[in-house]
């Protein structure tokens, strides 16, 4: 256990540095191909060169290597890493520290992610279990068809379609029927700060839908596999009730890959939040990136992308460590 943890932590360092460098290099090449992103601030107007230079410097984009296409700008990368380590992620075009922006918006994204995870885990596992214990029956086929459908619909398409459905039809119908305010908020087309949980319900469902399909399939396959195991047959032969055999003996063992997937997904959902929060106008971290991409706020995009990548990497690391706790066999590899 100790050795596994130590090895996994040691491996994490080069991956972390490498991924950070990859992200840095993608931006560097983009800026080198494209020229100074600060120009975009001025639109069609030609700014005085001194102003442009001063602003460029204040965003740390004045390194001469940014004009040499292909140059990896290692010096700049090192400076950035030092800044990140000290909690300095730069400032946006209105000179607010980006860490402040993220701190304001993060709680909303966290709530959205929690709703998404709760939805995908509960519905996904229940659907997967039902499909597995009724293999090849109607319910199994229904689950399999609907999971393929859910996996095939891109998140943003599901988002805009649910937005018209709830905005044009369900929301109007609920208001007409005199439903309580929180219920109409749950089907409104955008975020309402008076209903911090309810108005995130539909976006959370949209965000979790893709993984829901995946979790249902994973639970189904894994449980079918486990139900064939000898110890399940023994449990049945002892005369245990089917609910106990499935719920206690089989399900607990077959949920290990599902738990792993949900853990990794926590990080991935942060990326998906960019799309969902953009569509539903939610002022979270993803919404911040969405707006910045439309207004070309380079420093915000870079800093938030870095933070999202860090969250993703840490989530996968934690899952790997947790995996060793859940499944003792992994320690002896």
């Amino acid at each position: 256990m100790g050795r596994y943890t130590a090895r996994r932590l040691l491996q994490f360092i080069p991956v972390l540095l490498g991924t950070m460098f990859l992200l840095h290099y993608l931006q560097t090449i983009s800026i080198q191909l494209n020229g100074n992103p600060v120009r975009a601030l001025f639109g069609d107007r030609e700014p005085p060169p001194e102003t442009l230079a001063a602003i460029t410097r204040s965003f740390g984009l004045d390194d001469p290597c940014l004009s040499q296409t292909g140059n990896p700008c290692l010096g700049m990368f090192a400076d950035r890493l030092v800044g990140y380590a000290q909690g300095d992620f730069g400032i946006d075009f209105t000179e607010q520290p980006i860490t402040d922006l993220v701190a304001q918006t993060f709680p909303i994204t966290l709530r959205l992610t929690l709703i998404a995870v709760a939805f995908e885990a509960v519905v996904g596992i229940v659907a997967g279990v039902l499909a597995a214990i009724r293999k090849d029956k109607i319910i199994d086929n229904a689950v399999r068809i609907s999971t393929v459908l859910v996996i095939s619909v891109p998140v943003f398409v599901l988002g805009v379609l649910l937005q018209i459905a709830s905005g044009l039809y369900i929301g109007v119908w609920l208001t007409d029927a005199g439903a309580p305010e929180w219920l109409s908020a749950a089907f409104s087309i955008s975020y309402q700060s008076e209903h911090p949980w309810a108005s995130l319900f539909v976006p959370g469902v949209v965000l979790g839908a893709f993984s829901l399909g995946f979790i249902a399939r994973l639970t189904r396959t894994s449980l079918i596999e486990t139900l064939r195991a000898d110890y399940v047959r023994t449990a049945r032969a002892k005369g245990l009730r089917p609910t106990r055999v499935v719920g206690v003996h089989a399900l607990r063992n077959s949920l290990i890959p599902v738990v792993t997937y949900i853990g990794i997904d926590l990080g991935a959902l942060m990326g998906g939040a960019i799309v969902t929060e953009g569509i539903f106008n939610i002022p979270g971290v993803g919404g911040l990136v969405f707006l910045s991409a439309r207004t070309n706020e380079t420093p915000v995009i870079i800093a938030v992308a870095t933070l999202l990548t860090l969250v993703f990497l840490l989530a996968s690391l934690l899952v790997d460590l947790l995996y060793a706790v859940l499944d003792p066999r992994i320690r002896y590899d």
Binding site: L22, L23, S30, V148, G271, A293, N296, T298, I302, T309
Partner: protein, 311 residues
């Protein structure tokens, strides 16, 4: 996905009609894997339907004029977002162009990107996967660590960072970033597959007969380890169609003179809700969903046919 009907063939060996296959040894059996898979596929209704839909979309991308005579670029702003009528079967877009012709012409950029990116990542993934899996040692360590690094970057986040800073984006810049960020998955699958094939007896036998490494790779390893990659590549076609549309919708993919489903959906999004004209979204979304769905169903059917244990 597809258990109904013909599921038994691959498990029970070849049917009586096929006398040659499966008579002796592992080599014969592995050759008939493809024949078995094909026999199962063409009897599988899901595979047939999804291939017909894929062919339809491919023909839209290659010869849009087969499907419509209307010029998608002839638009009248005054006729913006009208509902379906005799003149415009699917109604008109926000800019007053014919929605049906936009749906047809919108297939091309998505399909070009999906096919090009899939071909490139399959090639890169196979080469690096074979190098890592076959030679092992240092090559394997380097390739595996590099794939770890690339997989640490979520696709949408990485693509967004590169594309958002780029002023003129086109099909090739979107393809490039998708290739750079997606090859490692294919490498991992190929590496695992090569390692399991490499341990089998017929590879040992070929080596004992004096075959060189390149000839073992080309004649024995590659044909026996490529099946999972082909399945994944089919699924990837759908994934990249969806990724292109997502990036375009986020405003960092293709841009306006281009006609693409992502652009049509993104233009229609606000107006559809505010002016209650759902057809602005329904038709382009349906085209996109059906395309992605066909590729995914096709990939699923192929997975079932090629790997009977996976059911």
């Amino acid at each position: 996905m597809t258990d109904h009907g013909t599921g038994l063939d691959t498990r029970q060996g070849p049917p009586p009609g096929d006398a040659d296959a499966g008579q002796v040894g592992a080599k014969e059996r592995s050759a008939s894997l493809w024949a078995d898979a094909w026999r199962e596929l063409y009897r599988n209704p899901v595979f047939i339907i999804s291939s017909v839909m894929v062919l339809a979309v491919l023909s839209m991308a290659a010869f849009p004029s087969l499907w419509t005579d209307t010029d998608p670029e002839r638009c009248l702003l005054a006729q913006g977002f009208e509902g379906p009528s005799a003149a415009h079967v699917f109604g008109t877009t926000v800019q007053g162009c014919d929605m049906y012709s936009h749906v047809i012409y919108g297939a091309r950029p998505s399909i070009i990107i999906a096919v090009f990116v899939t071909a490139a990542v399959t090639l890169i993934g196979c080469v690096t996967g074979i190098l890592a899996g076959f030679y092992g040692g240092w090559t394997d360590t380097i390739v595996s660590r590099v794939t770890d690094i690339f997989l640490g970057l979520p696709l949408i986040v990485g693509a967004l960072v590169f594309l958002a800073l780029l002023a003129d984006r086109n099909i090739w810049s979107v393809s490039l970033v998708l290739i750079v960020l997606s090859w490692p998955t294919i490498t991992r699958i190929m590496r695992g597959s090569v390692i399991s094939v490499k341990a089998q007896d017929f590879v040992e036998a070929a080596r004992a007969l004096g075959a060189s490494n390149p000839s073992i790779i080309v004649r024995h390893i590659l044909p026996n380890s490529i099946a999972p990659v082909i399945v994944l590549a089919t699924l990837y076609l759908g994934v990249f169609v969806s990724a292109e549309a997502t990036l375009t919708f986020l405003g960092v993919g293709l841009e306006v003179p281009e006609i693409s489903w992502g652009i049509t959906i993104s233009e229609g999004q606000l107006i559809a809700v505010n002016q209650s004209v759902p057809h602005l979204l329904v038709f382009p979304c349906a085209a996109l969903i059906l395309t992605v769905l066909s590729f995914i169903l096709m990939g699923d059917a192929m997975r079932d046919a090629l790997d009977p244990r996976g059911r």
